[in-house]
């Protein structure tokens, strides 16, 4: 099959190559042979694959090549002034006020002045900015960055590797449990449209545990193309709660990838809430490398206007006796389009696997569209796997019941929508975040919460 061979390059595809050529010498780690080689290889992968389009099965419903007409230049840090007001405007009050170790990445750069780096260090974590780490990457980071996996056949991942400029490298030493969650705040900037390519690497050593919130918001930049990758390595008996909140401006193109590998008897819980971006694609890859571990990957997305939100998930059971759970809820209004693709792979030896997956969509308007592809690929016999998917409009009976109890229609609708997405919030361990997300859904609906 010659589908992956490029017949010709679109303007955007060429511009992305040019971005690299132009920035090559100034990208972090340019002087380090390992990093330079890594970037070259990744660029070659991208050049071979081109931008994904709908003939690529995993991108069937999100034609990135058609969507991306122009490529914005790489962001240049200008040191935008950011105070409590800016944060609140970008993320909403509840998330902005979330009590945590803050790490703030603005215009593709980790800002020391806004981040609690020393406090985190005092708490026992090893933390360094990506830019600094790439100048002379430690051995473990080299290994992580050059692992096999989606980075070899995912053009978006490859582009990230070729162009990554900002982010944090965080290492939780053996047995460390942080007293507060970590809040990674990603903001755009205020100037002209730009491309931001960030990479975070989180490594939890044996027995370590932490809650990590990643939030993405806008300061009013006139256009943003974001490519954000977070790699998570979870050691034996370690636990990471990983949460993402994305409410970027509605012109934004947001491409996010989470890549997690889980050791033995460990736990990884991932949760994502999206209300922003014109085109958003969240890819989550979870792989089990040790027995007796579990993962819960869930999320909600609330879309309206002409927003397009794609969640693509691959859970790979490579070893026996692991448990995976997925629950996604999608609410779509106006002309919004929601996509859920979930794939559970059970390798030949991964006996005693328990995998369950569910995706539900609620369509609020005649013109909304939901496409779903929940896949099971199973090569072991002693497994219990299942998936479900539903799509429909609001249940008129429920609505009637609430109205018969004296609730006005709008309020009754809002209540039902909140209940629909609210089910996913139960997956969040942190109470403050659970409440914050209830607030997010209320905001989206335009109702007051008591």
């Amino acid at each position: 099959m010659n589908l992956s061979v490029q017949q010709f390059r679109t303007k955007a595809e060429q511009e992305l190559l040019d971005l690299y050529t132009k920035a090559e010498k100034t990208l972090p780690g340019a002087g380090n042979p390992f990093v330079a080689d890594l970037r070259e290889k990744a660029l070659a992968t991208y050049a071979r694959l081109g931008l994904p389009h709908r003939r690529i099965e995993a991108w069937k419903y999100t034609d990135l090549r058609a969507h991306l007409e122009d490529v914005y230049p790489l962001a240049t840090p200008r040191g935008a002034a950011i105070g409590a007001n800016e944060l609140e405007a970008a993320l909403g009050k509840a998330i902005a006020d979330f009590s945590a170790y803050r790490l703030v990445i603005v215009e593709g750069e980790l800002r020391d002045d806004l981040s609690d780096i020393s406090a985190l260090k005092d708490a026992g974590a090893v933390i360094v900015s990506l830019a600094e780490a790439l100048e002379s990457p430690p051995e473990w980071l080299k290994q992580t960055l050059s692992k096999a996996g989606p980075r070899e056949d995912d053009a978006v991942f490859a582009l990230n590797t070729a162009l990554m400029t900002g982010g944090v490298i965080l290492r939780l030493p053996k047995g460390l449990t942080l007293d507060k969650p970590i809040h990674l705040i990603h903001l755009d900037g205020t100037g002209d449209p730009a491309t931001m390519v960030t990479r975070n690497v989180i490594m939890a050593e044996e027995g370590a545990s932490a809650t990590v919130l990643e939030s993405y918001g806008g300061l009013g930049m006139t256009g943003l193309q974001r490519n954000a990758v977070t790699e998570i390595e979870i050691g034996d008996k370690a636990a990471i709660h990983h949460i993402k909140f994305q409410r970027e401006a509605v012109e934004t193109t947001h491409l996010g990838i989470w890549l997690a590998t889980i050791g033995a008897d460990a736990r990884y819980d991932a949760f994502q809430v999206s209300t922003g971006a014109l085109l958003g694609r969240n890819q989550i890859y979870v792989g089990f490398d040790g027995e007796g571990s579990s993962t819960d990957v869930s999320g909600a997305c609330l879309m309206r206007g002409r927003q397009h939100s794609d969640t693509t998930l691959v859970v790979e059971h490579r070893v026996p006796s692991c448990v995976s759970r997925e629950l996604f809820k999608v609410v779509l209004d106006d002309h919004a389009r929601g996509i859920f693709q979930g794939k559970v792979i059970v390798a030949p030896d991964a006996q005693k696997t328990d995998g369950k997956q569910m995706a539900n969509a609620l369509l609020l308007s005649e013109t909304a569209e939901f496409d779903s592809k929940p896949e099971l690929e199973i090569f072991a016999d002693d497994v219990v796997c299942g998936h479900g998917a539903t799509s429909g409009q609001m249940d008129e009976d429920l609505l009637f019941y609430l109205e018969s109890r004296g609730l006005p229609e709008a309020e009754a609708r809002a209540m039902l929508i909140q209940a629909f997405v609210g089910e996913t919030f139960e997956c969040v361990d942190n109470e403050a975040l659970r409440e914050a997300f209830a607030g997010v859904s209320a905001d989206w609906l335009g109702v007051q919460v008591e």
């Binding site: 099959m1 099965e57 030949p348 006996q351 969509a361 369509l363 609020l364 308007s365 005649e366 013109t367 909304a368 569209e369 939901f370 496409d371 779903s372 592809k373 929940p374 896949e375 099971l376 690929e377 199973i378 090569f379 072991a380 016999d381 002693d382 497994v383 219990v384 796997c385 299942g386 998936h387 479900g388 998917a389 539903t390 799509s391 429909g392 409009q393």
Partner: protein, 490 residues
């Protein structure tokens, strides 16, 4: 329990390598030279004495086919097919249509006897009042040799004949409907079929008529290295009803055989078509050598309001199955159903499923798919349910269950759901599991042997679908299931 006992006994009789229907009947065939080019297409058309328009249609399809690429998206692996190394036409030598069964080549009758087609019995049956009647249009390789019950069907106004006959006797109808559901440009194999189709069945049930009997085609691939390109066209006029049965077996041999059939169903207003298949082609030997390649395009068009098309299939044979019987729910209030049992053992590969395309208002569809994978086989369900903008109140309910027997096989589920209409309600559910130890233990504790227990549990697993098969097929299917799973336990 007697049925189970029966299946178990049959399992004992049959060894994996002793495929029950593996024999070759030696009849002289008129065969076109190997390979495919425009001349072969002309040769086939001329052999069948076809009108100019059909030849043109074939040639156009052939030209189109030359520009197409073999699809590779299915989850199946096989050596590339050399399309120039196949025979595209082979007909039994006695081409003058026999007047009765007595005129039929005795060798041929012997073949049918081995297959268990009760042609003679049916003549007897026909005289029995109230007995179920089945009309058989037996296809021997490429040309319909004998058609029974024609007269009784004619009385009801039902046309049931081979496509070639239909082209001669009802050209206006063939011209109107051929390629209207599966266009000749549809996909690689459908286009190939359009260019070189040999023969097949044609059914027309007139307005308001309930077809008085179940129609049935048994066909087998016989001459070595002959691809069989069947073309079936069934039209149910307003308010008509027809149930069509298709069952197939093929002789054992080493070389892979290509089978690329096209089935088109058209249901006009208030019409109903029930299409049942039991497919038991040679799956290859225990090392995965040989076996049939089954690349079939089956599609039904619910063209009229309140029409209904129901597909029921039992897939136990073929080395590779690539088949998606679909329903286009065009008429308002139309309904599509798909019931499937797909069993793979040995090195079989199945990539099968359905498409329910909701175009009209208040359309509904139901999918029940049961996949059973054993041995080294791979069994994929791939299905699409889509509701278009206009399809308000579309409803779909899908269940896809897979059962794994043994740790060398794979079961995959790839459903696509596309809702472009808010009032469309889709529900999809899928599970994959092995036979539960508890169930097995319970059966064993009741004194069943392990094989009996597995046969019992599997028959229970597929019961939802079995119920939708016509009576004639149910018993046969139960036997097939146990034969197909032979050697998968212990």
């Amino acid at each position: 329990m007697p049925a189970v006992q029966d299946t178990v006994e049959r399992v004992k009789e049959i060894d994996v390598d002793q495929y029950k229907y593996g024999f070759v009947t030696d009849i002289e065939s008129v065969t076109a030279p190997k390979g495919l080019n425009e001349d072969i297409v002309r040769f086939i058309s001329a052999k069948k004495d076809e009108p100019e328009w059909l030849l043109e249609w074939r040639l156009e399809a052939f030209k189109r086919w030359l520009t197409m690429q073999e699809p590779e998206w299915a989850n199946v692996q096989y050596p590339k097919i050399d399309f120039q190394d196949l025979y595209y036409y082979s007909a039994p030598k006695s081409t003058e249509g026999p007047k009765s069964l007595d005129d039929v080549d005795p060798d041929l009758l012997e073949t049918y006897k081995k297959l268990g087609i009760p042609l003679r019995e049916q003549e007897v049956l026909a005289g029995v009042q109230g007995a179920p009647k089945v009309a058989v249009d037996a296809v021997f390789d490429s040309v319909s040799v004998v058609t029974t019950f024609k007269e009784e069907l004619a009385k009801a106004g039902v046309i049931f004949c081979s496509i070639s006959e239909a082209v001669k006797n009802h050209p206006e109808m063939v011209k109107r409907y051929l390629g209207s559901v599966v266009p000749s440009t549809d996909n690689f194999y459908a286009t190939l079929n359009s260019a070189v189709f040999s023969d097949g069945s044609f059914v027309y049930v007139p307005e308001g008529v309930r077809c008085p009997m179940e129609l049935s085609t048994y066909f087998r691939i016989n001459a070595e290295q002959t691809g069989q390109f069947e073309r079936t066209l069934i039209i149910a006029d307003k308010g008509a009803y027809v149930s069509y049965l298709e069952g197939c077996t093929a002789p054992m041999r080493d070389e892979n055989q290509l089978h690329a059939a096209v089935v088109e169903l058209v249901a006009l207003e208030d019409a109903e078509i029930k299409y049942s298949t039991v497919q038991n082609w040679y799956p290859g030997n225990k090392d995965g050598k040989g076996g049939i390649f089954n690349f079939v395009t089956k599609r039904g068009d619910c063209r009229g309001d309140r029409s209904k098309i129901s597909w029921t299939q039992v897939e136990t044979g073929s080395a590779i199955t690539w088949k998606y019987p679909s329903c286009i729910l065009r008429g308002d209030g139309s309904r599509g159903e798909f019931y499937s049992i797909a069993i793979s053992n040995g090195y079989q590969q199945i990539d099968s499923g359905t498409k329910m395309i909701h175009l009209g208002k208040n359309t509904s569809s139901r999918i029940i798919s049961k996949g059973i994978a054993a041995g080294h086989s791979n069994n994929t369900y791939r299905g699409l349910v889509s509701a278009h903008r206009r399809a308000s109140n579309a409803r779909n309910f899908s269940v896809c269950d897979s059962l794994l027997i043994g740790d060398k096989c794979g079961a995959h589920t790839v459903p696509y759901l596309e809702a472009k209409n808010a009032s469309a309600t889709f529900e999809h559910e899928a599970t994959t599991s092995k036979i539960s130890d508890d169930q097995l233990f319970y059966c064993l504790s009741r004194g069943l042997s392990e094989e009996e227990a597995v046969a019992l549990i599997v028959n229970g697993f597929v019961r939802d679908v079995l119920q939708h098969l016509p009576m004639e097929f149910m018993a046969e299917t139960q036997k097939l299931i146990s034969i197909s799973l032979e050697g998968s336990v212990g």
